[in-house]
Amino acid sequence: MNSGSVASEIRLLAAEWTIRANGGYLAQACGSAEIFATLYCDVLDLSPSTAPLIPPKFESVPNSFRNEIRGESWLGEGPDLFVLSPAHYGTTQYCALVAIGRLDKKALTSESGDGGLLELIAAEHSPGIVVSSGSLATALGVSVGRAMARKIKNIPGNIWVFLSDGELQEGATWESLQLASSQRLKNINIIVDVNGMQVDGRMAQLMPIEPIVDKFEAFGWNAIEIDGNNLEAIRIACLAAKNSNLPTAIICRTKPWLGFSFLKNRWDNNKLHFIRLTEDERQDLISEIKSL
């Protein structure tokens, strides 16, 4: 698989989703398409999916009577594990799974409505989702626990956790980081999508989180800062992370407006977090997709 074409496919599928659903988390997909593409094509060591290409219908929430399908099944059985923390990036994950052939494209339509598992805010029955973490800054701590367990049990493989920059505002994130480094975990790495935005607008204006690299280092992590829309830079950083003796955080500076021109206007107006298309934007997007 070629990471460049996977990244383009993710953008396209996410745009089609947004048009179809009359709304969506498109900027998240556009900013992180290269990260997902590189992880799946060049970094993660995953065995084949054990889940069907078209997910089953919703059965029940986790309880003692039913054995609901686990979103993790789409990622196979290791040795690596990819954990998406910000659950509103669920669409990006679904589109990435389609782009790499672990999910049928039809599922994006047929399974994103009532009774389907492709929830807008992903849960752990949604394809490719390991922890229900729509309450942000939840999945990293769970992943640290899994990494510690794997260390105790001597299980090979790395856990890669995808974080959004907004999650760096939560105290829970820093508690989890301190636990991982205090345990000298080598089997967990983080990729942060630093797109500079949150719901209300620009993070720099609302609640600055810089200097991110210094903060990670101060918490005992190895930190690598890169252009998060550059496939080669991501690949090289992930390689360095694998070879590091410390848990590593890859700080990806991304452009969430990349791919479709109306997104840049939205960025300028601080209205990029959730996209509900205006009629003009809709027409623009449709014609841009056609010319791809």
Binding site: L136, E170, G171, D200, M207
Partner: protein
């Protein structure tokens, strides 16, 4: 059709801030989403953007209140109550500080799934000593609740509605005062919150058949009940509670406590029954978790000793496209 009011809380908050100079609003990156944007632009000096960091935010509310201010924290109910629970318990409820907590996206009203559906917020807040717990049922409640609780010395949690909210009531909100919608003393329906409009419609449609069928809307869950409510409960043969919350800790539980002390009518509880929930459209979820109009109708018929024949029809709802919440910016 009920008249729809757009963003009733937004303007109420600005008016409130204009009169009361000691009010400050603090948000966790959900400012416009929780209708605090007008306040933020009108009173930038009394608005604090605290970032997505609810635990520290709530501790700061305690500090603001200890310096004599009245802090208001509007967020999604799960982030208002569940995430910073201990901080609320020990630094706001325990010292009995005048903090106003607003929780939007109650229960199944959001397609956002388990992380965004507050199905236990009323229970979490209700069990805290010193906390007053309110649930808004309409636009009038959202416009008047903030003024209505201003004089209360302790903390208040308000389960809230946003976006396009129907107007059901003319009288302003008053703490503790239940709203009798239909008098009727044989079968009594008690409802809270967003389900009230549906309950009014359903009960109204059945009043020709059952003329002693009553309906009361309860907006103060704690302290529970006024004299009018207690009198109505005492007269009824069957009380049906209807809520968009876990029955274990919401309206049903408050009613059950009352009935345990003053036994009388049989209690029928409609609400979420000891289960977590999943994402989907409001209509679909109400049906899936059996708290829709059909269920209410059936329970009313049963209460009168009758059976409502209804083909369990519209499961074709399934797999229909989820309508994103059209009234609000982020579709949740």
């Amino acid at each position: 059709m009920n008249k729809i009011i757009v963003k009733p809380f937004a303007s109420a908050l600005v008016k409130h801030g204009t009169v009361h100079k000691n009010v400050v609003v603090v948000t966790n990156d959900l400012t416009a989403s929780c209708e605090a944007d007008e306040f933020a632009s009108t009173f930038p000096d009394r608005f604090i953007s605290a970032g997505m960091a609810e635990q520290g935010l709530v501790l700061a509310l305690s500090g603001l209140a200890r310096e004599g201010l009245i802090p208001i924290f509007p967020s999604f109910a799960v982030f208002t109550t569940r995430r910073p629970y201990e901080q609320i318990a020990l630094t706001i409820a325990y010292p009995n500080l005048p903090v106003r907590l607003f929780g939007f996206l109650p229960g199944l009203t959001t397609p956002g799934g388990v992380s965004h559906q507050a199905i236990d917020d009323i229970g979490l807040m209700k069990q805290l000593p010193n906390m007053t717990v309110i649930e808004a049922a309409d636009a009038t409640d959202m416009e008047t609740v903030i003024d209505g609780v201003f004089d209360m010395p302790g903390p208040v949690y308000m389960r809230s509605l946003r976006g396009m909210v129907p107007r059901l009531f003319k009288e302003p909100f008053e703490v503790g005062k239940s709203r009798e919608i239909f008098a009727g003393d044989r079968v009594l329906v008690l409802v809270t919150g967003a389900l009230t409009a549906m309950a009014i419609e359903t009960v109204e449609s059945l009043r020709a058949e059952f003329n002693d069928l009553g309906l009361i809307c309860i907006n103060t869950l704690k302290p529970f009940g006024d004299q009018a409510l207690f009198a109505a409960i005492a007269k009824a043969k069957v009380v049906i509670t209807l809520e968009n919350h876990l029955v274990e800790s919401g309206l049903a539980s408050a009613t059950a406590m009352r009935l345990a002390k003053f036994p009388g009518p049989t209690l029928v509880t409609i609400g979420i029954q000891d289960t977590f929930t999943h994402g989907g459209s409001y209509e679909y979820l109400l049906k899936y978790y059996a708290i829709d109009a059909n269920r209410l109708k059936k329970e009313i018929f049963y209460a009168y000793g009758k059976f409502l024949a209804s083909k369990d029809d519209d499961w074709d709802l399934l797999a229909k496209r989820i309508e994103l919440n059209a009234n609000v910016a982020e579709g949740l």
